[in-house]
């Protein structure tokens, strides 16, 4: 189904549904989503806030909130089903083979521990090095993410580093054990645009070096297009379209994808050329959600959309769309 060699995918999310039980009702955050990621591939999950991008990332990492329940599906990573794996098995994989970079590096790092020590902790936890060698390895990692003067910086606390430097430390921590899959959850939010470019280039370069798969979570379609080979568009807990980047921009097939591209200020010559997307995400606590959750905002809506179960159409060359009336 992918353009990559027909090998076993590194990560296969199949039919995954996640719910959150809250005081005000059950939030159906993910509804039977599926995608595959092969070794060395980069894929972006794109969508508005509340569409389920981060929940997907957290589900893969096994760090969902207590209130979450996985009601269906599997997450197969390297032959192991992560949904049903026990805590011990997860603990072995997480950090070593699966790594994540969080949105805000300042809150994700331990504020009262020097950054070199935090990297050494990970190396020691996963048993790759001896306690005597760990500090030197941590310094080497800081040098790999191009932090100037790594020996001195290893002794710095997060508050002594700029936002871009903290994000480099996060990347160094994530890559310390040479993971096979890196999840980058909005890695450049809050960073300046030139810093964003440097950080994204760094992630792309290191991923290529290690033949690592990358899952980039972002709301910025432009960023996704620049760095990822495939894009999956999410809307209200559904993956509405998955396609190679060029195909997604050339021939978007889901009405939401088309709107999202038209709403992104990038190529448009003036403001009138930008489309707005009417309406908002549906309330995911509703018990009577239609099978397609875009119906209330869609211009092509018909009775089928509210009655028939949602179909996932394969359009060839890794292009999938979940719509009864694709463009």
């Amino acid at each position: 189904m992918n353009t990559a060699p027909a090998s076993v995918p590194l990560l296969a999310v199949e039919d995954l549904s996640v719910e959150f039980r809250t005081r005000s009702g059950t939030v159906r955050a993910l509804d039977r989503i599926g995608f595959e990621l092969h070794r060395g591939e980069t894929m972006a999950l794109v969508g508005e806030s509340g569409s389920g991008k981060s929940v997907t990332a957290y589900a893969i990492m096994g760090i969902l909130d207590e209130a979450a329940r996985t009601t269906s599906g599997r997450i197969v990573f390297g032959g192991l089903d992560l949904v049903h794996a026990d805590d011990k098995a997860m603990g072995e994989i997480r950090g070593r083979e699966l790594a994540i970079i969080f949105q805000n590096p300042r809150t994700a790092l331990n504020p009262i521990r020097p950054v070199g020590r935090q990297i050494a902790d990970i190396l020691l936890r996963h048993g790759n090095v001896t306690a005597a060698l760990a500090p030197q390895h941590a310094i080497d990692m800081l040098a790999r993410v191009r932090i100037p003067d790594p020996k001195r910086r290893a002794l710095s606390y997060p508050f002594e580093l700029s936002g871009g430097m903290c994000q480099r430390v996060m990347i160094a921590m994530a890559l310390a054990c040479e993971p096979q899959l890196l999840i980058a959850d909005e890695p450049t939010t809050g960073l300046d645009i030139t810093t964003q470019a440097v950080i994204m280039d760094l992630i792309a370069e290191l991923a290529a070096e290690q033949n690592m798969a990358t899952l980039l979570i972002t709301h910025d379609l432009g960023l996704a297009a620049e760095y990822c080979g495939h894009i999956a568009v999410m809307h209200a807990g559904h993956i509405v379209e998955t396609a190679p980047t060029a195909a997604l921009f050339a021939t978007p097939r889901h009405p939401y994808t088309a709107k999202l591209i038209a709403a992104t200020p990038g190529g448009a010559p003036d403001l009138a050329g930008l489309a707005s997307i009417p309406g908002a995400l549906p309330d995911l606590r509703r018990a009577d959600l239609p099978p397609c959750r875009y119906t209330a905002r869609c211009e092509r809506v018909a009775t089928d959309c509210e009655e028939l179960p949602l179909r996932r159409l394969a359009l060839g060359a890794g292009h999938h769309v979940a719509c009864h009336f694709p463009l």
Partner: protein, 343 residues
């Protein structure tokens, strides 16, 4: 541009913040100063939208707070509609007649709306304080600006937590235009919004500008948005304006190396070749604390630097019609430099 014509004219504006430990005997130490805004001059014409771009720490926010008269400048003049307002202390500017004419829309509507105020109360607040309106007149004016900003009447009774991001942004705009300002300062008005809502708010701002004949100072680090909304842009780096000019022209042919680097970092959908053409800025910015006055602020990160860049501080000069850059070695390949024909 003649000084009398512009709505806002800023001349040689500086703001220095004292930094470092306070000594018991002040004469025993040399004071240090952080040069947040260091000699900035520009003008905003009537009905013009000027974009202010730059990275965090470049002095955008300080400049905006100086113009909004929330901070007192260290030096320089701010003239609004021909009258000097830079000398009025910020504490007393609330009583000045210009207070209502310069209004601000803040970055994150969630943080800038009082959680105890309904939308109605938030919009009414400046009218109560600056216009002393009450009763039917107040309700009529609030209803009018709510209509202008597309807020339906039933939303006015709601508190911020009951409103969506787009609705909160509208309340923030309605509050700012309620007292009929002539200059609206917009500080990243859409940075907290999703693209689907962002478009609607930007279009609303453009409509309001035409209807109410407003001038905008639009601060943003989303260069794509600035390009769509602004007539002219100012690029700021370490307290200096390094380039200014018509938005289309600056985006098509940046003259300052910093502007060029900034533009090349913008991710564009459909342009996957972006990385190969990127111009990087190596290293970190120079320290803004007691900078050497003769060294170009970009020195050390710039590929075009020469001895001239440490010998004298470059000043803004016209590179092409209406486009100014403060650089000894401007990029002049795209646009033919023209002889001065300014009026």
């Amino acid at each position: 541009m003649m000084a009398g014509e512009a709505l806002l004219a800023v001349e040689g504006l500086r703001k220095l913040f004292p930094v470092g430990k306070r000594a018991i005997w002040p004469r025993n130490r040399v004071p240090s100063f952080l040069h947040a805004v260091d000699g900035v001059s520009f003008a905003i014409g009537r009905g013009e939208t000027v974009g202010l771009v730059g990275e965090s720490g470049c002095g955008k926010s300080t400049l905006v707070r100086l113009i909004a008269r929330l901070l007192d400048p260290s030096d320089g003049s701010i003239r609004f509609d021909g009258e000097e307002i830079g000398t009025v202390p910020a504490r007393r500017f609330g009583l000045a007649p210009q207070r209502g004419q310069i209004q601000m829309v803040f970055q994150d509507a969630t943080d800038s709306l009082n959680p105890h105020f309904t939308a109605f109360r938030a919009i009414a607040d400046p009218l109560l304080r600056l216009r002393r309106l009450s009763g039917a007149a107040l309700r009529a004016r609030v209803a009018e600006v709510a209509r202008l900003t597309g807020l339906s009447a039933d939303l006015l009774g709601r508190y911020p937590h009951q409103l969506s991001g787009g609705q909160k942004a509208r309340v923030g705009i309605a509050r700012a235009i309620a007292v009929e300002p002539r200059l609206l300062i917009l500080d990243e008005p859409t940075s907290a919004l999703d693209v689907s809502v962002q478009v609607v708010i930007l279009q609303l701002l453009q409509d309001l500008k035409r209807q109410l004949n407003l001038s905008y100072l639009f601060v943003s680090h989303d260069l794509n948005v600035v390009r769509l909304l602004c007539d002219r842009i100012l690029v700021m780096y370490l307290g200096h304006i390094v380039e200014s000019g018509p938005a289309g022209q600056v985006f098509a042919a940046p003259a300052h190396p910093y502007t060029q680097a900034l533009l090349s970092a913008v991710p564009r959908p459909g342009a996957s070749a972006g990385r190969s053409t990127r111009i990087g800025l190596p290293g970190e910015p120079r320290s803004p604390i007691d900078p050497a006055p003769q060294i170009c602020p970009l020195y050390g990160r710039c590929g075009r630097a020469s001895e001239a860049c440490v010998a004298s501080m470059p000043v803004l000069r016209e590179i092409a019609a209406g486009q100014f850059a403060a650089c000894h070695h401007p990029i002049a390949d795209a646009v033919e430099p023209r002889l001065m024909a300014a009026g």
